[in-house]
């Protein structure tokens, strides 16, 4: 444990280097060799990018580390540190397993239970956010654990959805568990620790670095039984997660989007390349064979998914306000289902003043039917 902890603290320690270091000897021996200035593994097998200076640097670093202190520091945080020998270690089949795993929250979530990763772009659309939220919520309700990366955008929506659906949210992060990144996710971070599970392969105090996020993606792919990409641009971390998932022979699912939507370029490309198209939680459950068939068909099919009890129905307050123009509200309802639409366009369509449209939309927003985002009206997002 202490040897692994020391290795975790070395600079630039990514999955490929870990694999190389441990390719010949156990961690205790590796630490001893590093300390002595010997090669811990055959240099001809070293991953590209390893230079002799790295070994010198590690030697200096390892000489400074005090394994006993390190262990104490980590334990002081109140986290659980999982060792590969632990019965709960989830990465037995992982080709590039982490050295250790730092966990905060409910470790039972790692137990055998179906799990799905929902990931996607940080720069998502409101529709994407809504789809991710709803899918995560319904999967959580169906007893599936939702894994994601606690980034902004789709990841955050997926975590929120899972938490709203009764917990079972696992966040895999690319920093130390005490380094909230991005900072804006502080509340969500705390919530995931409180009612779900947060894990990382990095020790306390480890800050964000560009290369650690793709490395984090492999753990998401490894942890989940399948990966759903909700929205991704033509290039993006979410596509890496899809690759990692495919490499581990796990199903990759993708939510199709408009071909004009740049945030759906990546997902549409995945579908062309053979990913399983999926619309909602039911599709996920069916295509993974966890559910025999889609639940009973809706009376009115909708693009986003089922209108279930959690979607707030028209509230009592809305009924008390009969002044809202019913005809305008009907047009709004009809148009919004086809996609986000601006107040200006609605004003032209209904041939009424912006005031009438705004009043109607705001009343519908209060009732939870739609959301007014700037001057765009969108179907109620999570």
């Amino acid at each position: 444990m202490q040897a692994r902890l020391a290795l975790v603290h070395l600079s630039g320690m990514g999955p490929a280097r870990v694999r190389w270091l441990l390719s010949r000897h156990d961690p205790i021996e590796v630490v001893a060799r590093l300390r002595a200035g010997e090669h811990p593994a055959p240099i001809q097998d070293a991953p590209p990018g390893i230079r002799p200076t790295d070994l010198t640097e590690w030697r200096v670093e390892i000489a400074r580390l005090d394994p006993q202190r390190l262990l104490q520091d980590q334990l002081d945080q109140g986290w659980t540190i999982l060792h590969p020998d632990d019965a709960r270690w989830p990465f037995a089949a992982e080709p590039e397993p982490p050295l250790l795993m730092f966990c905060a929250g409910d470790l039972d979530l790692l137990r055998a239970k179906p799990s799905v990763a929902i990931v996607g772009t940080r720069r998502c659309t409101s529709v994407g956010r809504s789809v991710a939220h709803r899918m995560a919520l319904e999967l959580a309700e169906a007893g599936v654990t939702v894994v994601s990366g606690l980034a902004l955008g789709i990841d955050a929506a997926a975590h929120k959805g899972a938490l709203d659906g009764g917990g079972a949210a696992v966040g895999v992060v690319g920093t130390g568990l005490d380094v909230v990144y991005p900072r804006r996710n502080q509340a969500l971070w705390d919530e995931v620790i409180g009612s779900g599970l947060l894990i990382s392969e990095y020790p306390a105090g480890m800050g964000p670095a560009r290369w650690r996020f793709p490395a984090r993606n492999r753990l998401i792919a490894s942890l989940a039984d399948a990966t759903v990409i909700v929205e991704s641009h033509g290039r993006g971390g979410a596509l890496l997660t899809a690759d990692e998932s495919a490499e581990r022979d796990k199903p990759v699912l993708a939510v199709p989007g408009s071909v004009l939507n740049p945030a759906a370029d990546g997902t549409n490309g995945l579908i062309v390349d053979g990913a399983i198209p999926t619309r909602d939680a039911d599709d996920v459950l069916v295509s993974l064979g966890w559910s025999a068939a889609r639940s009973e068909p809706e009376s009115e099919p909708s693009a986003v998914g089922s209108t279930r009890a959690h979607a707030p129905l028209v509230s009592k307050d809305a009924c008390e306000a009969p002044t809202v123009d019913g005809a305008v509200a009907d047009v709004v309802r009809h148009e919004v289902r086809a996609g986000a639409i601006s107040i200006d366009a609605l004003s032209v369509l209904t041939a009424t003043s912006p005031m009438v449209v705004l009043a109607a939309v705001q009343a519908m927003a209060d009732a939870g039917e739609v959301t007014l985002s700037g001057s765009m009206v969108v179907w109620r997002s999570g």
């Binding site: 940080r122 720069r123 804006r184 969500l188 601006s342 003043s353 005031m355 209060d366």
Partner: protein, 505 residues
């Protein structure tokens, strides 16, 4: 011999009387200027001497001492050239000292003796302690506005000297021009195609004096809309016109030929403007800044996110009080700054953020961009509207839209309703009289209660919502209670812009 001439200097927008005392005595020829002149004022010696000589008069080859009283007040600029010249001529006996005493004078001299215009003429004319005043011919109408029947416009030093020694008649008295200044409503609202929401917001802003923030991608028409807002505002009344003219004059802006600024000004300072240029201060004259030049008019800040954060935050006090207090080490002036703030910004640095998924900005860049707009400043905007680019069909085939004149009529009507309540516009309605002038219908009350309980609105926000709702009702010609629809609309016009929400959550 001793001679005195009345004149004035301007600080901020106010003029201060100054007496030029000239003493010519025997002794070594010399020239001393005392009484806190700054560098530009000290330079007057060479101009005045050349002007006197080219006019065909003599420069005294004696000891010349000039004192600018009161000595505690810093004098700046070339406006004292003319009174100094007259003082020297009187003290050296070339004109009667008694003849000069009843006149005030202000003006810059050219080496050929020509009298050139100076900034702040309105305030200077107002402050001079004299029966009649000599001012530069161009711009004399401005001075005549505050001193009718007492202003004589002169073009050369020779003209004045000839009149004072009696060889020529005095330069004529200048009267303010009777013809009103030409209407500045050049950009018409009918040029704007589509944009019903933004047009409506513009109308509410003009009618109620509510500050407006427009957010939209490049090319959506934000600048076009903003430049048409000023056309919707009513003419300035006499007192407003005079004060705005004073400010413009002090700032050295061109004043319309009639002498009075009668239309609300439209100021659109560039985002790179310095704090002094925006807020005022700077030189000894404490020149008014852009926000004062926009007094009684519209201050348009395009690319709001590109202005420096300290400048934006400094706007908060004038927005609240209608004046800006500029303090420097030695002095402090209070400048008028009651303006309608209209701002435009892109949703994010790349400008494409309004369209879902098109933004190319990094998350950090977006966060940085939205941080520039502090919460308290954002709170001052009663109307926050997202402007979407109009579609091709609207641009090409759109019917002619309502003209400025039609909307301005409704605005004037709404403003007269506000005036009947004893305020300039609804934005000025004090909180305590809202229950009287903007009573809430029961449904509207319960709606607001719900919003307040949800924590989506602050106390200040509530007050602003109610004043905006009052304006909307005024524009619709409703006199009675504020309906729930109106409150809904007012709430929707105050939504958080998406820039500020960011892409998180």
């Amino acid at each position: 011999m001793l001679a005195t001439v009345s004149t004035a200097v301007v600080q901020g927008v106010d003029g201060h009387p100054v007496t030029v005392e000239v003493h010519v005595s025997n002794g070594l020829p010399g020239y001393t200027l005392v009484g806190l002149p700054d560098a530009s004022c000290r330079e007057s010696r060479d101009r005045v001497r050349a002007a006197v000589l080219t006019t065909g008069l003599k420069w005294p080859d004696r000891r010349v001492t000039i004192n600018l009283a009161p000595t505690g007040l810093r004098k700046q600029g070339a406006a004292l050239d003319l009174p100094i010249a007259l003082g020297v001529l009187a003290a050296s006996g070339q004109i009667e000292a008694a003849a000069v005493r009843s006149y005030g004078a202000v003006g810059e001299l050219g080496l050929d003796g020509a009298i050139r215009p100076v900034a702040g003429l309105v305030s200077l004319a107002d402050a001079m302690e004299a029966d009649e005043i000599f001012v530069p011919r161009s711009g004399a109408e401005q001075a005549a506005v505050v001193r009718p029947g007492q202003v004589r416009g002169a073009e050369t030093l020779g003209e004045i000297v000839a009149a004072l020694i009696g060889s020529e008649p005095l330069p004529p008295i200048v009267e303010p021009l009777a013809t009103p200044s030409t209407d500045a409503r050049v950009a018409d609202l009918s040029d704007v195609r589509g944009q019903p929401l933004a047009r409506w917001a513009l109308e509410i802003s003009a009618a109620g004096g509510h500050h407006l923030l427009m957010i939209g991608p490049p090319g959506a028409g934000k600048t076009m809309l903003a430049s048409r807002l000023v056309g919707l505002l009513p003419d300035l009344d006499a007192a407003q016109a005079l004060l705005t003219t004073r400010v413009h004059s002090a700032a050295g802006l061109a004043v319309p030929p009639g002498g009075l600024v009668e239309r609300p000004p439209f100021r659109a300072p560039h985002q790179g403007s310095s704090a002094v240029a925006m807020l005022g201060g700077g030189s000894a004259a404490m020149r008014p800044g852009e926000i004062s030049c926009a007094h009684n008019g519209v201050l348009f800040l395009d690319e709001l996110g590109e202005f420096s954060v300290p400048i934006l935050d400094a706007l908060r006090q004038p927005l609240e009080e209608g004046v800006i207090r500029v303090s420097r080490a030695a002095r402090a002036v209070t400048l008028p700054a009651r303006f309608l703030l209209v701002a435009a910004m892109n949703p994010c640095p790349c400008g494409e953020g309004a369209q879902d998924g098109h933004c190319r900005c990094s998350d950090a860049a977006r966060a940085r961009y939205s941080r520039r707009l502090s919460g308290p400043l954002l709170d001052r905007f009663d109307l926050r509207v997202e402007v979407q680019p109009p579609t091709a069909s609207v641009l090409l085939d759109g019917a002619g839209e309502e003209s400025t004149a039609a909307v301005a009529d409704r605005v004037a009507e709404a403003r007269s309703r506000a005036a009947a309540r004893g305020v300039r516009c609804n934005a000025d309605l004090p909180a305590h009289c809202l229950d009287d002038v903007a009573p809430l219908a029961p449904a509207a009350r319960s709606l607001l209660r719900k919003v307040l309980e949800a924590g989506e609105l602050t106390g200040r926000g509530l007050r602003r919502i109610r004043t905006v709702a009052r304006t909307i009702a005024d524009l619709n010609g409703e006199d009675d209670e504020v309906s729930v629809d109106t409150i809904h609309a007012a709430l929707a016009l105050r939504t958080q812009p998406r820039t500020v929400l960011g892409v998180a959550s």
